[in-house]
């Protein structure tokens, strides 16, 4: 049975990845997880300079989920190349560098520097970052801006370019269409959902930044709907992300139209979640007598009648 797939000529050995910001740079957990069993590792977002991140409190647990406001604390692309990439290069899995920036130029600089390095197999662009020029409004909620970043980065690399979309927009499919138009090879769906929690006793927001990003099982239904929306209207490979904790969750995302999945928050509970799912998915495929796990992608059976049902809420 075929487990892998490829994007822009790069082969991935299976369809289960770990999501950016939820797995460090991989080496933190190398004693707990057989990294070589993953489809690939999406690194913590990298910016040009190291970033301290936001002050505490950065983490709040919520019903079946969590809010984070890490502020993209990261070691910066230079230290990454010097200190972390050498280890990652030794792995028999793919490394996708996730890039975050506060200007189009910074996105380009980080990508170009990484593009000179061996062992970086592709890029995932985190557009859920404040655009300093626009007073801190997020790039990712502005479709034209998201397209512009894509075009700019496409011109700088021939490696796979994956744009990570935010769910905090009215029509996510428009964004997928726009980045496809500018040459993106794939999209990642979804980043975290904006959320907030208040400490009633102190009357203060629990997070230092007031709002943060919601992740975990709580958002799985939202993520699945976004993946389905994109898959229905744009022909572009999708990495499905959001609340995946079990093999069955991964299968749901594949059926909805994702070519692969990323495991995020579940890594905090068990960093081996990704490898466990990868193995379970392979067994599932065999048991279902598939020739290729890819047969699951977009295999959802949608009754024609459902599409004409009115979606009153």
């Amino acid at each position: 049975m075929k487990n892998g797939f490829s994007i822009r000529g790069v082969d991935f050995q299976n369809r289960v990845f770990v999501a950016s910001g939820t797995f460090g740079y991989g080496d933190e957990v190398k004693h707990l997880v057989d990294l070589n069993k993953l489809g690939g590792i999406f690194t913590k977002s990298l910016s040009w300079k190291p970033r301290d991140g936001n002050p505490p409190r950065r983490i709040v647990e919520t019903a079946s989920g969590m809010l984070n406001s890490i502020g993209l604390a990261n070691i910066g692309v230079h230290t990454f190349i010097e200190k972390r990439l050498p280890f990652l290069r030794t792995l028999k899995t793919r490394i996708i560098a996730n890039i975050a920036a506060s200007s189009i130029r910074e996105y380009g600089d980080v990508l170009s520097l990484l593009d000179e390095q061996e062992g970086v197999d592709g890029y995932e662009i985190n557009v859920s970052c404040p655009n300093v020029k626009e007073g801190g409004l997020s790039f990712g909620t502005d479709c034209a801006m998201t397209a512009k970043i894509t075009a700019e980065l496409r011109s700088k690399t021939s490696r796979p370019l994956i744009i990570k979309l935010t769910p905090n927009v009215t029509h996510i499919a428009e964004f997928a269409k726009a980045v496809k138009g500018e040459g993106a090879d794939a999209v990642s769906v979804i980043n975290t959902v904006i959320g907030m929690a208040i400490d009633v006793k102190s009357r203060k927001p629990k997070l230092s930044t007031v709002t943060g990003g919601l992740s975990g099982p709580a958002i799985k239904p939202i993520a699945l709907a976004k993946v389905f929306e994109v898959a229905q209207s744009v022909d572009i490979p999708i990495f499905g992300i959001g609340g995946i904790t079990r093999m069955e969750d991964a299968v749901e995302f594949l059926m909805a139209g994702a070519v692969a999945v990323q495991v995020g928050t579940a890594n905090f509970v068990d960093p081996a979640t990704g490898t466990t799912i990868a193995e379970a998915l392979e067994s599932y495929g065999r048991q279902q007598k598939l020739n290729d796990i890819g047969e699951l992608v977009g295999s959802l059976i949608v009754d024609k009648k459902s599409s004409v049902l009115q979606s009153w809420m």
Binding site: L32, M66, A73
Partner: protein
């Protein structure tokens, strides 16, 4: 560091509101150093979602003990565990207390459940030939936990036992009367207490390590969720889970909480 399903062998009430939970793990029992913690998955469900961090309070053969109060959903589930139940444990984690220095007199200061790491700490200090004094602050006599501790000095908030006041005041008074040298302080407890103790230790020129608590998503350095502000240096924050929980008090800036 391992991640494993382990068997609970005992859950019991040891003081007003406080319980110990004991589980079997030869690996964790063998490798845990004082001040390290374990991150416990209290059930297989998704709510509560995250693991819960607890200091290892004592090791006895293959048995590992933690100490906790019921303060929310996670500890409530733990309290209901029965001998024979399984829990999933990740550990040991974090940087332990530095117990190998030149000092001769270890002064342990614990407020409330800050007493958790003191039993294992005492054992290791004594094995190194250190003299140990323990300053315990508790809400009342009923809340005191004194097992496996040495030379105990007690302070209670309500004066129902020992010194009427807190553990920091208690150790200050004690050191006034007993001007001992070659001292190192090891502390654990509420942030407010640690702040007061740090201020005292720094002004008195005493070496002092404090163990911090703070919300954690992972406990192993992959989420960046547990920063504490550092003093000087290039990096603004240290991670409590991998660079702590034990810190030299002059190295970090405690936030009001």
């Amino acid at each position: 560091m391992i991640i494993a399903d382990v068997v609970v062998t005992d859950v019991r009430i040891v003081a007003e509101g406080t319980r110990t939970l004991t589980f079997v793990s030869p690996e964790i029992a063998l490798s845990t150093l004082p001040g390290q913690f374990v991150n416990i998955r209290v059930h297989a469900g998704s709510d509560p979602l995250l693991r819960r961090p607890f200091s290892v309070s004592r090791v006895d053969g293959n048995h590992v003990e933690i100490l906790f109060n019921i303060v929310g959903a996670g500890t409530d589930i733990l309290a209901k565990k029965k001998p024979g139940d399984m829990i999933n444990v990740l550990g040991p984690l974090g940087v332990p207390y530095g117990i190998k220095g030149e000092f001769k007199n270890a002064l342990l200061v614990a407020g409330g459940l800050g007493v958790a790491p003191m039993a294992i700490l005492t054992e290791h200090l004594k094995a190194l030939g250190k003299h140990v004094d323990t300053f315990l602050g508790a809400r009342s006599a009923l809340h005191l936990i004194v097992d496996h501790l040495e030379n105990i000095h007690v302070a209670t908030d309500d004066g129902s036992k020992g010194f009427h006041g807190n553990a920091v005041r208690l150790i200050q008074e004690y050191l006034k009367e007993h001007p001992i040298k070659e001292v190192k302080i090891f502390a654990c407890g509420p942030t407010r207490m640690l702040k007061a103790l740090s201020a005292f230790a720094i002004s008195a020129g005493l070496e002092c390590e404090i163990s911090l608590e703070g919300e954690m998503a992972c406990g192993i350095g992959i989420c960046q969720g547990c920063p504490v502000e550092r003093v000087g240096g290039q990096k603004k924050y240290a991670l409590v889970c991998t660079e702590g929980p034990a810190f030299h008090c002059q190295d970090i800036i405690l936030q009001d909480s």
